[in-house]
Amino acid sequence: MNATVALILMLAVGTYALRLVGPALHGRVELPARVQELLSAGAVVLLVALLATGALTEGGGFAGWARPAGVLAGGVLAMGVPPLGRGRKWGKGAPFAVVVLGAATVTGVLRAMGVA
């Protein structure tokens, strides 16, 4: 068996097994509501950490300024600008595609200007 096929097989089987842990246990083991709540909270905490490391780091070091600047721009778009004269209530936020394109555009433009 060649090395590439071996890699694909190991990675595919292992990844699927990891994904199946939760669904396979579900229904057999009754999780208390508190544990369920903690699992949901844990997933959010993990996603936030993933976005922070993804935005700021590359290969164990700092990713440069262009990427986090783009991500920050996306975050501002996603927050939505507070509507004028309507008190402190935040807007709904820009549509998903605008957030993503806005982030990529800011990063791309900064790089074109020579910011790493």
């Binding site: 090395a3 590439t4 071996a6 890699l7 694909i8 190991m10 990675l11 595919a12 292992g14 990844t15 699927y16 990891l18 994904r19 199946l20 842990v21 939760g22 669904p23 396979a24 579900h26 229904g27 508190r34 369920q36 903690l38 699992l39 949901s40 909270a41 844990g42 997933a43 959010v44 905490v45 993990l46 996603l47 936030v48 950490a49 993933l50 976005l51 922070a52 490391t53 993804g54 935005a55 780091t57 164990g60 990713a63 990427r67 783009g70 991500v71 996306g74 975050g75 996603a78 936020g93 957030v99 993503v100 806005g102 982030a103 990529a104 555009t105 800011v106 990063t107 791309g108 790089r111």
Partner: protein, 203 residues
């Protein structure tokens, strides 16, 4: 991102079928990138698979978090498990009630699976003609997706903010020392700050 994976793999000297087949059966972006990276650097299949699996251990936690959305049937559970990714979990948990969480999981899961694989094929066939996708700022797209998805949960549930902030600090502090994929696994330790059991649902 799918396009860049296909392009990078082929530009590195792998046959076109490798990124295409891998994306269907593994279906985990960051793990695929790093596994192919290790393979192209001459690391051997075992090291490459281990690196990818380390990155994917978070899917076990995600699978537990969304298990109740995958339906009671065995077939939907087996199929749904393959669609568990950072994005589908984030999409699902951004919804306010179980019915909408389930719909968001399946719609985003099937849509992203199609988009990812079409993108990889396009990238693999186009090869390196696209140039460096970092020039277009595409590396900012994935974190931005996650920002948009976790914001509603963080805004609605103030009790998540402390644990999330601590999780970020732990993950960033570990990044220079720990192998790829491990730093984010430290983040759930931030839950120590989570005062659960009071009013309001998490996520």
């Amino acid at each position: 991102m799918g396009v860049s994976f296909g392009a990078i793999a082929v530009a590195g000297g792998l046959p076109v079928w490798v990124p295409v087949v891998m994306s269907v059966v593994v279906y985990a972006g960051s793990a695929q990138f790093s596994a192919v990276g290790v393979l192209l650097a001459g690391g051997g299949p075992l090291a490459a698979a281990a690196t990818g699996l380390l990155l994917n251990t978070r899917n076990a936690a995600f699978g537990l978090a969304v298990a109740d959305l995958l339906g009671p049937g065995r077939a939907t559970r087996l199929l749904g498990a393959h669609l568990v990714t950072d994005e589908t979990v984030a999409f699902a948990l951004a919804q306010p009630d179980p019915a909408r969480r389930r719909a968001a999981f399946w719609i985003s899961g099937i849509g992203l699976f199609a988009a990812w694989n079409i993108g990889v094929s396009a990238g693999a066939f186009a090869g390196s003609a696209l140039g460096d996708t970092a020039d277009y700022g595409l590396d900012a797209a994935f974190p931005a997706v996650l920002v948009a998805l976790v914001l509603p949960a963080l805004r609605e549930n103030a009790r998540l903010r402390g644990p999330a902030a601590l999780g970020v600090v732990l993950a960033l502090a570990a990044t220079p020392f720990a192998p790829a994929g491990v730093p984010v696994l430290l983040a759930p330790a931030g839950l120590g700050l989570y005062g659960y059991g009071r009013k309001g649902a998490a996520g």
